[in-house]
Symmetry: C2
Subunit: 265 residues, 2 copies
DNA sequence: CGAAGAGTTGAAACAGGTCAATCTACGTGG
DNA sequence: CCACGTAGATTGACCTGTTTCAACTCTTCG
């Protein structure tokens, strides 16, 4: 049996294959995957639980099996900056394995979540024996860097309604241009903070967007007749033509239909 | 002779040692370094020259031998977002080797500069044979990611005067608290754009900062009696206690005195 | 000396944040 | 099943910070 070497915690095939199928391990040696799987553990978290806090020593990195978490910074004077919201198959906390050894942000559960956690030292250790692993991590980090760069650009040059438009565009199915109906993936206050604005501003900016682009808003449900209007409004102030980099998720590029975060209704 | 295998372009010892001493190659095999050195070329650039443009195929990555460059995005409607300003020993353009194969931003010379350029494919190729190289790239990228995250936090939560205060703090010598005198590293318009504000706003915000923190401004020269005042003003709205991540330069942590970007007077 | 670029300043416009009131949806307990 | 409480969402009035545009100064460099 393929799973015979794997510790009792993850003997079940579905645990093993969850790990094996993560893009972190694409093309890796079977031995490498087994090594990670043997040391992986799974744990369930409830909404609002804290996974780790900024500056804590980072002994583990995490892969999301199901659910949704946020990464954020909390300032001394009590504000919060949400820098990412992640969903199924996304990896987080891996970064600190390669610099300070402490987590560089805090993480908290947005909705009930099952996490897989793996000792961080394994990353540094195993890239010595499996170049595919190194390449995969590098690719994930390169994509992440690029995404962050895009985000900085947006903060510098986009208005609040434009940032929302961009966010909505990225929720649209890739190959559909017309008659799109999307559901917001989480509550509006959270989206607002993720986009660097207050809830009230989000509400008003969404109204501005509605008037300009003729989208229809019914609570969390948004109908878009033609993405062309949204693109004109947002993407003309952007350095890249549509589509933009996905704002959430650590390797959203790889997302095939039905994998990763995909809230499109 | 140690340099015997190296192509005629870089036979001179100082070219070789420039490459060898870069933190990208710390702990790497001699063979690895030679391989890169053999394929490295050097070129001088004049102010305002473009090194590459966003979305161009990325055949090379660059190491700055001397001078100063900026990385930026240019939007369709003619705006510019400067995402980084780099100096001696900084690496750039390496990112695209691991994702799309196209540059993810444009780069332009700020002051006359000598660049070392090396084929991008070598990175992917050589990490197979030298795990230290992989680890070094990962470390550099992890630090870069962390820096970007800090920057996003600042955009979300800091005012213009606070961002300037943070910028000034990072120009201060590490182990000095009082009677500091710094020279701005480049012109104020460029700093303003780097910090995501307009030149006029920079000018006004610097005045606000002067009144609040009692710093003295004489053109590009700034005198700070005690960094405590600056820290109270800026770092209390930050998730990490002082010192913050360096805003410019790709691996500013490693910077020892006299290396990397260091404009402190 | 004059041109060009960098830097400063003022007035007006605008975007976003703050605070408070209100509204809505939804789950809980009586 | 309904009343209630809570969290999320919206709206209005007001305030602050940043941008815009234009005028003006200062410095630098041919």
């Amino acid at each position: 049996m393929r799973t015979q070497n794997i510790s009792s915690i993850i003997v079940k095939d579905n645990f093993y294959s969850f790990i094996k199928e993560n893009l972190l391990f694409t093309g890796c040696k079977e031995k490498t995957v087994n090594m990670f799987a043997t040391n992986a553990k799974f744990k369930n978290y409830k909404k609002d639980q804290v996974v780790y806090l900024e500056e804590e020593p980072s002994n583990f990195f995490y892969i999301i099996r199901s659910g949704c978490i946020k990464l954020f910074h909390e300032t001394l004077d009590g504000n919060e900056a949400i820098t990412d919201i992640l969903g199924a198959n996304d990896i987080f906390g891996e970064n600190s394995a390669f610099d300070s050894g402490s987590y560089t942000c805090s993480s908290q559960i947005v909705e009930d979540t099952e996490l897989c956690y793996i000792p961080s030292y394994m990353l540094k250790e195993q890239i010595q024996y499996d170049a595919s692993l190194a390449l995969n991590i590098l690719t994930i980090m390169a994509l992440h860097t690029r995404k962050q760069e895009k985000e900085i650009e947006h903060f510098m040059l986009h208005s609040a309604p434009q940032r929302i438009a961009c966010f909505l565009l990225r929720l649209c199915p890739e190959n559909k241009q017309k008659d799109i109906c999307i559901n917001l993936p989480y509550n509006k206050t959270l989206i607002a903070l993720r986009l660097g604005m207050k809830g009230e501003t989000f509400s008003r900016a969404l109204n501005v967007l509605r008037k300009i682009t003729k989208i229809r808003i019914m609570g969390a449900r948004i109908e878009i007749d033609n993405i062309e209007q949204l693109r004109n409004f947002s993407c003309n102030s952007c350095s890249l033509s549509y589509p933009c980099m996905a704002i959430d998720g650590r390797h959203a590029h790889f997302i095939q239909k039905g994998r990763g975060i995909n809230w499109v209704s």
